[in-house]
């Protein structure tokens, strides 16, 4: 459909800003593998300290890019499926808040006043503008959600008996999760961290802050993932030349995510003191509830792809695989999604040890972890984001893809890179290589008494993969910006690929309503988190003074006076 200039501009800016910043994120990704492999034995390079760069890498890649994209893609999906445009004023305010917040945080990080990594665990203290920037980014991303929810209710009034499109359910589920989980981190930032970093309050409860962070932090990963899921369910079957096997199973999957995404955050704190084993065990078990929507999705998509292959004339049990349009430059989105899914098989499987209460001890906070999540967030999530960003830019600007043949091989290159990179990191993790560490200064420096020769092969492997990922990333920038600045040759429009469903099912009311699911969500959430927070509150643990990253003595000066 044709959409207004203003909406078009908003979506384009919301893609342009994070993709531009991503250049820093990708650059420092490569740098991290170089330091870690012991090719740089220094604290920083080109005015960027390792941990400063790692903070930028985490914040830009995993928070800024994903949040901007979720909002931009949300605007596109809601507009496309409800056939009406969101309120432009709200969308504009939201965009401005997100950009201002991002610029504040970027300033704090680039000037070296916030090298606290994207988890900003207190009592490491960052500049207040870092926290405030993060809060603005989050609040900005809430606004369109309220608007979409209103549009949906309006639409529902007019179409009471029509099934809500799956993509709309997905988008609203995703932003409901986001809204609820960010309440906790907003509280952490606004009530605990900002007054403390300004010097207005002296001390902070560390375990409480960590628990609030992970209340948000696990749901965050589903907020990354669901836009990709929406694409897998509503576009992938169409692009493959088939139909979605079961629309109903898709709905069940989305609603299960609504219920199970948040009340599992403690699985990131299995190794923490201050939280009882009972709470850990309960949330550990709930975590495996996520296996249901995940496996349902896997089976459903595989069935849809098989159907597509059969439609294209495949023979035999696995013949359908050969018939899929892997390298068709006109269906490049298929390539981005299938590579993401292949990575996700490994990403999902390697997540199981992390989530398993006991096994987590083997790999917690080792290099295994980044090995795992580059196959999830830098796998299906990232590939879906970059593929869709190119797609939206090309449609909304009415421009043909720049370098279409290269565009379709980028995801394969990235996938191969990630597989090698992650193998290196995970192997390292299994033999104790720590994450979040400038290994080049100590453990990978032959001159240091701490030198660990057993980590040479693992970090080299990660470097090899990192170089391939970097090349793929650079090619993506050429395609994205090349498309953006090209001459306009087509009609500008918004037209998302829409899969039909294989089964024509009646509308099942319970899977077409939010209320019952929201109630279950709240109940499970309370069951999981009331005991956790209660326990922390009754611990009577002493609170901590603030520390700067470069000084072992507490820093209680008022940051703004300096």
């Amino acid at each position: 459909m044709e959409i207004s200039r203003s909406l078009k501009r908003i979506i384009i800016i919301e893609l342009f800003v994070p993709v531009s910043l991503l250049t820093i994120g990708i650059y420092h990704g490569l740098m991290q593998t170089i330091y870690r492999a012991g090719f740089l034995h220094q604290a920083g390079a080109l005015k960027l300290d390792y941990y400063q760069g790692l903070t930028l890498h985490g914040v830009i890649n995993a928070v800024v890019l994903t949040t901007f994209f979720a909002v931009a893609f949300g605007h596109a999906t809601i507009t496309h499926y409800l056939k009406r445009e969101p309120d432009i004023l709200i969308a504009r305010i939201s965009m401005c808040l997100m950009i201002i917040g991002t610029l504040m945080a970027a300033w704090a990080m680039l000037s070296g006043k916030a090298s606290v990594l994207y988890t900003f665990y207190p009592p490491l203290k960052a500049h207040p503008l870092f926290y405030l920037g993060a809060a603005l980014l989050i609040v900005g991303s809430w606004l369109p959600f309220f608007n979409w929810a209103k549009m949906y209710r309006q639409w529902k009034k007019e179409n009471a008996e029509v099934k809500t499109p799956l993509a709309v359910i997905g988008t609203l589920v995703n932003f409901t999760i986001w809204f609820v989980c960010t309440l906790a981190v907003a509280y952490e930032v606004l009530v605990l961290l900002i007054p403390w970093s300004m010097g207005w309050t002296k001390t902070i409860d560390v375990t409480l802050s960590r628990t609030l962070f992970w209340f948000f932090g696990h749901a965050l990963v589903y907020f990354w993932l669901l836009p990709a899921y929406i694409m897998f369910y509503t576009m992938l079957p169409k692009l493959a030349g088939g139909k979605l096997y079961s629309d109903l199973a898709g709905r069940i999957a989305f609603f299960s995510f609504l219920v199970l995404s948040i009340p599992v955050g403690v699985h990131h704190q299995f190794a923490d003191p201050g939280i009882t084993r009972g709470v850990k065990m309960f949330q550990g078990l709930l975590t495996f509830g996520i296996a249901i929507p995940s496996f349902m999705t896997a089976f459903n998509l595989a069935a849809s792809l098989e159907y597509a292959g059969v439609q294209r004339g495949s023979k035999g049990l696995f013949g359908w695989i050969k018939k899929l349009p892997f390298l068709d430059p006109n269906r490049y989105l298929f390539a981005y999604m299938i590579c993401g899914l292949i990575l996700f098989i490994f990403g999902g499987l390697t997540g199981i040890p992390n989530a398993s209460y006991q096994l987590n001890n083997v790999i917690h906070n080792t290099a295994f972890l980044p090995g795992h999540f580059h196959m999830t967030v830098a796998g299906p999530v990232f590939l879906a984001i970059i593929g869709m960003s190119t797609f939206l830019i090309s449609q909304l600007k009415g421009k043909k893809i720049f370098w279409p043949k290269i565009n379709v091989v980028i995801p394969y290159l990235w996938m191969i890179g990630v597989l090698i990179f992650s193998s290196g990191l995970m192997w390292g993790g299994l033999i104790g290589e720590p994450r979040r560490t400038n290994l080049g200064l100590s453990y990978l420096n032959p001159q240091s008494p701490l030198f660990r020769p057993d980590w040479v092969p693992t970090t080299m492997l990660a470097l090899a993969g990192g170089i391939i990922m970097f090349v793929a990333g650079m090619l993506y920038f050429v395609v994205f910006f090349g498309t953006l600045i090209r001459k306009k040759t087509e009609v500008a429009l918004l037209d998302l690929p829409e899969s039909e469903t294989y089964h024509v099912e009646k509308r099942v009311p319970i899977f077409d309503k939010f209320k019952p699911w929201l109630v279950i969500m709240v109940v499970v959430l309370l069951l999981a988190y009331v005991p956790a927070l209660w326990g922390i509150n009754n611990n009577n643990a002493p609170k901590a003074l603030p520390y700067k990253v470069d000084n072992p003595m507490p820093d209680t000066t008022n940051t703004l006076n300096k």
């Binding site: 375990t207 003191p273 509830g289 296996a291 089976f299 080792t366 104790g432 979040r436 611990n539 000084n551």
Partner: protein, 151 residues
Amino acid sequence: MFDKYEKGILISSILVMMLFIFSLVYSLDKKGRNITECIPFNKTYQKGRVEKIDDSTYQVFMVAKMWAFEPDKIYIPVGSTVDFFLTSLDVVHGFNIAPKNVNLMAVFGGVGKSTVKFDNPGVYKIVCHEYCGVGHQFMQGEVIVNYPENK
């Protein structure tokens, strides 16, 4: 509501989940699970030291601070069982003895505990695996189990 294959999808997903949960519960009381306990805090944990209970039982009160462990070298005989109690004096630190799967976070105001038996002689490296500031990559320690032999 569901057709044959949709039912198949649902049932297999639920079976997979039950298998996971079964394994989790099954291994609960097995050796080496070592999930940190939640120990009430008191100030005595903030003093790093090793206490010998008897010839083969030790308690290590480990303190993590920017950017060292205290004590950073622990000598024990082969076959000892060691309780590690861990806290932090400042920011969050990590504590990993990889070959023994001792894996804890050091949090200010919290005390983590993990118990492990050292059956073989050798030097077991302790690595801080949580970013704790500019000196993080130098923060490590050692558990030295009868090594060299005469110690």
